[in-house]
Symmetry: C2
Subunit: 366 residues, 2 copies
Amino acid sequence: MGDYILPVELHNQIVDAAYQTRGFSPDEAAQATRFCQLAAWHGIKTHNAIKALHLDDLFGSGNKNNPGCVPNASIDVIPSKFKATECWDANRKLGQAVAFQAIDRAIELADTYGTGIVSVDHAFHYLWGGGYVMEAAKRGYIAYTCCTAALAEVVPFMGKYPTLGTNPHSWGFPTTNAIGFPIVIDWATSTVAMGRVQQFLREGKQLPPDSAVDKDGNLTQDPSKVSALITFGKHKGYGLALINELLAAFTGASIPTLRSRPERIPTGTNEKTTPNFFFQIIHPEALSSHNFLNNRSQSDNVKATIEDIIGHGNDDCLLPGQLEHQAAQQSQQAGGLLFTQAEIEEFKQVATAANVPFNTNALITT
Amino acid sequence: MGDYILPVELHNQIVDAAYQTRGFSPDEAAQATRFCQLAAWHGIKTHNAIKALHLDDLFGSGNKNNPGCVPNASIDVIPSKFKATECWDANRKLGQAVAFQAIDRAIELADTYGTGIVSVDHAFHYLWGGGYVMEAAKRGYIAYTCCTAALAEVVPFMGKYPTLGTNPHSWGFPTTNAIGFPIVIDWATSTVAMGRVQQFLREGKQLPPDSAVDKDGNLTQDPSKVSALITFGKHKGYGLALINELLAAFTGASIPTLRSRPERIPTGTNEKTTPNFFFQIIHPEALSSHNFLNNRSQSDNVKATIEDIIGHGNDDCLLPGQLEHQAAQQSQQAGGLLFTQAEIEEFKQVATAANVPFNTNALITT
């Protein structure tokens, strides 16, 4: 038996109700739903509705001691003299709603100025950065985002103690006309995620080399001994993880090791425990010399470049974003979103809690 | 015996004369000299004057069949409706001169718009990207640059044939007030450079794992069997190397495997064989929420973040840019630029060719 096919409409009805039941506004719920559909459509198992709602339980509106996310919060745009950039105080508004809105605003800025930046303070986890840059790329823009992860789980290169987040970076390029889908480069700066360590532990497997350390800071491949993660590519991944922390620090973040850890804040001091976002859009015309040889358009030129890179016998190469594109084609063929039986059972619980009728027996499988 | 101490003034006199002898204008020679001083002052052995002039011989003004660099070339600013971005046709002008000017222009744009971008077509190798972002960071700005390398020497992830450059990325952050020097994250997207492979070959050493492939596309640590390099961090470094090619393709670059290889251009077609640059500046105030806790200034906040990251027993951690800062301190203490005996002997040849008196016996050593 293959995957279950969950019709988009039913998926969206369940997710929307789940968010509204938690107190989010119809607009916030709509943005959360839009995001979950986007993730599931593109095969992003790590950040679909099940994970998004689980995260909201743990760190978001469900965390009554330290709610990382506050339903119905409003964004404040910080006054600034600069024309192509904005800084927002998100006031812990739902991450997906803030991120979609920030991309929209950065696109407006890029339409006038060639590029636009939105930095965001007091944010909540936006889940899958690749989704936002993918959407922007489908709309014809070059897009970039990075954020600080919710927890400091990663040891800096040559260090022992985790002081960095898994700090992901996501770049999207408008290559749909050239190759049929947007190139989306999207990954964390740790070799693996902590969720992956737990998965290896459950499955009794060893971790890949150079992915984690034990409590003494020594490399380990034994998931039961993992105390912290390490960055990919030694000092290079470390440098990339620092970028997120520095952009966040210039924006307004507090101490990385206090993020999502209010219990660690020294008495008598006040520190933020929220992540930060950074978004940038570049209008592709703003980069253009308008001088592409052999009668190529800009898009033709990008196509010729990509074909050269994956040509010359490099047939086994995948382009970043290609797997997501293939997953989207599978969703299209199936006529709905593909979920495993375990995921459908979790959906059942979500639907029940949100009072949405959900007859899993009526679902067909691939 | 330690290093030779070459007084800055004498170094600059030799380098300036060497560039002017090659036909570069006084201003171009001054920018080339400024760059070589900056590199040597910060201990950048791979991109000091010796290497810069060698590169100009091989690929630049010295390459009579396909001069990658043309003395006295002028930059054309491409007309554009966008306000915070510019695209330049560098007409193969000296890379260092173009890069310093592009950073200046991007800073002007960022002063008004919060951020500024300059993309450059028809460029020549700018050598050490870290130098430009370091200077911008010392002036108080967040800076980024990337370029396409002169040759396609790197195999895309899962591929066999080299179609990507070593495509470096460089980020600079204005952290001098916070920690005494700018953080400069600066590296190629290949695990090692081809020059390093030749060095291993000379020294009879094995390469680090996961750095190169043989002619059949299989991994090898034997430098004599190396046919091409691979990206660091598997698909992640591959993604980063693609970014440079895509930004270049949107700007106006031709086919990556034809770069610096005019002999490969099919008859009857016309292709560029030049690299491209991308520069971006962000004004740090443009990111700011103006809400830093515990009475911190923005710089104090950045300092608190960095101290947290390299605190908690992470004493062995270096910050990116710290080694360059230490080298600068050594230059300061020595009262000049530090070179090995072999380098000084090469300087002697450069000085002789440029008719500058250079008495190596008068140099003192550390």
